[in-house]
């Protein structure tokens, strides 16, 4: 019924609220940090259609393989489709190699799709995980399809509020708990200022033992100056 109404009116028509025609976007704040034993990935949980919050408990930390996850930002439909395709490829790859695939292989397939279909897609992805050849790795694949490995990576509309914070406070070789706290702080700061980010903070730690997830509810997020 919503489809029919959306087609009957022009999008942007005054008779139709904008959320009936706007695309689902994960407004978002995402980040990932490498540490000695693996990676920590983090995201907020808000999906918006226009200014309406369509989902306030979204899971933006999506499984590619058991040891490789990705953080999704941009169009929800695009990033879900891309992640499905990469996951499909990695399944075959694992059977061919008879061992867990490397993070950089998944990242390369992400890049392949995001670059070759760059005109049609709106997707900013952080691919992160652990493999036994190179340990914890974080790869950034922003809009346009660049691929770059970084010790810390931020993405999404909320990340603009974090560049200064990361530059000023990040240090390499943190412990697992320090990384988790660091990510929680950063996501909290972005949620506070960015209208397109909010809800709860989802964290995950990927090491040789697999994934360990944590959720921080809104009231338990770190609090900063509220002037």
């Amino acid at each position: 019924m919503m489809q029919h109404n959306a087609m009957a009116f022009n999008s942007g028509s005054d008779l139709l609220p904008d959320w009936m025609s706007a695309e689902h976007s994960t407004g978002t704040t995402i980040m990932a940090v490498e540490f000695s034993e693996g990676v920590v990935i983090a995201a907020d949980s808000r999906t918006t259609t226009g200014s309406y919050i369509a989902n306030r408990v979204t899971d933006k930390l999506t499984r590619v393989t058991d040891n490789i996850y990705c953080c999704r930002s941009g169009s929800a439909a695009d990033t879900q489709a891309i992640t499905d395709i990469v996951s499909y490829h990695m399944n075959f790859h694992k059977m061919e190699l008879d061992e867990d695939p490397e993070v950089r292989h998944a990242a390369k397939i992400f890049q392949d799709l995001c670059y070759n279909y760059r005109e049609q897609l709106s997707a900013g992805i952080i691919c992160a995980g652990w493999d036994k050849k190179a340990g914890g790795q974080v790869y950034s694949i922003p809009i346009g399809g660049m691929l770059m490995r970084q010790p810390v990576c931020i993405g999404g509309s909320g990340s603009t509020y974090l560049y200064g914070h990361i530059d000023a406070t990040f240090k390499e070789n943190m412990t697992k708990d320090e990384c988790m706290q660091y990510c929680a702080n950063a996501i909290a700061l972005a949620i506070f200022r960015d209208g397109s980010s909010g809800g709860i903070c989802r964290l995950a730690c990927i090491t040789k033992d697999g994934i360990e997830r944590k959720t921080i509810l809104h009231q338990d997020l770190p609090k900063f100056f509220e002037g």
Partner: protein, 205 residues
């Protein structure tokens, strides 16, 4: 993004038993960036009359000042408090004088008659078309969410404490589904002998 959604707002007013309540969020944003958590959108005009102004922030402040000025002049000349319904007509006229270059606000009027203490609420569009109701009025960027909340929670003849709970829950849950409003909330309960103002603890996201 439309000009009415540039700064973000959520305002609601409700009628209770011999009282009215008006509530608003406190966010000031520039599209998705939040700039302030302390932005005033409800203005007291006289002892028992309030006006809430959702819309473009610069016009919120300009229109509030204009209205206060005109109300003061009226009250000085007439030597009596202005009735809410008269004030509504004054706001409507102020907006219509700018019919072809409007102020981007959609005001909500809430108050008690200065003599009879009868509760009154009204809203209007940005060029002054008024709408008076007997239950509740809503305005801002999450009106659909507010209508849903108010329609479910409102009952006639609520006592001030009940009305406070109802209007607070209506506002808080509506703004939690809107990316452009929230970040704090303020509620004014207007009764015949006092006005109670409370700040709500809200989600800051």
């Amino acid at each position: 993004m439309s000009i009415m959604e540039y700064n973000g707002a959520a305002i609601v007013a409700m009628i209770g038993k011999d009282c009215v309540a008006i509530a608003a969020d406190k966010r000031l944003g520039v599209q998705s960036q939040t700039v302030s958590f302390n932005f005033k959108k409800i203005f007291q005009m006289n002892d028992k009359l309030f006006v809430g102004l959702p819309g473009l922030a610069t016009d919120v402040q300009t229109v509030a000042n204009k209205l206060k000025f005109n109300l003061n002049m009226y009250q000085l000349r007439e030597n009596r408090q202005m009735k809410p319904r008269t004030f509504m007509h004054m706001v409507s006229n102020t907006l219509y004088t700018r019919r072809f270059g409007p102020y981007f606000v959609e005001p909500i009027v809430a108050g008690l008659d200065p003599l009879t203490n009868e509760p009154y609420i009204a809203t209007m569009d940005l060029i002054g078309c008024p709408m008076e109701t007997k239950d509740f009025v809503v305005g801002g960027t999450c009106t659909e969410q507010l209508y849903g909340m108010c329609e479910s929670l409102w009952n006639p003849d609520m006592e001030p404490d009940d009305l406070f709970e109802t209007i607070s829950q209506s506002l808080l849950n509506a703004v939690d589904r809107d990316a452009l409003s929230g970040w704090g909330a303020v509620v004014h309960i207007i009764e015949k002998d006092k006005v109670t103002t409370r700040d709500l603890k809200a989600r800051m996201d």
